[in-house]
């Protein structure tokens, strides 16, 4: 493995919104990817130590809503979205 890790080359940018942001105490963070296996959005969530991924939380990768089991790649923007309450 290479000890030199550029920010976006080996990390994913994780965004939290609304109540999830409150719960975690942060709104965005870079999470390093596992170098040997492809991670899913759910696996990244599990590393945030915020409990099980609630069924009602939607996942977006690169501003596209996808399933929680969608693979995440280096440089992706991964967002966890509580139920929408706009309008």
């Amino acid at each position: 493995m290479n000890a030199w890790q550029p920010d976006s080359a080996q990390t994913v940018k994780v965004l939290l919104f609304a109540s999830l942001r409150e719960q975690a105490g942060w709104s965005d963070r870079r999470i390093p990817l596992n170098a040997v296996a492809v991670s899913s959005a759910r696996e990244i969530w599990d590393r945030l130590e915020l409990g099980d991924l609630p069924q009602v939380v939607l996942v977006a990768i690169n501003q596209e809503i996808v399933s929680a089991d969608h693979p995440v790649h280096a440089g992706d923007e991964l967002a966890f979205l509580p139920p929408f309450t706009g309008g």
């Binding site: 109540s19 501003q63 809503i65 139920p83 929408f84 309450t85 706009g86």
Partner: protein, 152 residues
């Protein structure tokens, strides 16, 4: 008669507005064939969901995804209902009671399509666009977990 291409304008605003100016400007740009226009306006209530006096409503959104999702479902709904054009205004930031949260306007050749598309577009904004509301009462903020009911 639905022959002109769908036309939409989406504005996410972080400052107070009555929506009147934007609505007037948009209405003036409508073709005369859009004889029917339905509009909905939602404003901040004086009371929080739990009945306490509301000091402010905070509105958060996911920039980028938010605009793109609104554009996608607005185009789909205009086509589905045979309506011609739509204006969507949505506030974000800190709002005081009485301030406009959302304005939706839909024009069509007939009143039925305009009214139905306007109502459907409002529901889509409530359920399918990444906006989140937090109520502030007596210095305590509470994220809403669901929208207000349609009202029976």
């Amino acid at each position: 008669m639905g022959s002109q291409p769908a036309d939409l304008e989406i504005q996410i605003l972080d400052q107070p507005t009555s929506g009147g100016l934007q609505l007037d400007t948009w209405l003036r740009s409508r073709a005369a064939s859009d004889a029917a226009t339905a509009v909905f306006m939602g404003r901040v209530r004086e009371l929080a969901m739990d009945g306490q006096t509301l000091d402010a409503l905070e509105l958060d959104h996911y920039p980028g995804l938010c605009e793109r999702r609104i554009e996608t479902f607005t185009r789909r709904l205009l086509e589905q209902h045979g309506a011609c054009s739509a204006l969507v205004l949505h506030r974000v930031g800190r709002l005081l009671p009485g301030e406009l949260i959302v304005l939706v306007a839909v024009s069509a050749d007939r009143r039925g399509p305009a009214q139905r598309c306007c109502a459907a577009l409002l529901e889509a904004l409530k359920h399918d666009a990444p906006f989140w509301k937090r109520e502030w009462s007596h210095g305590v903020g509470t994220w809403l977990s669901e929208n207000t009911p349609l009202g029976s």
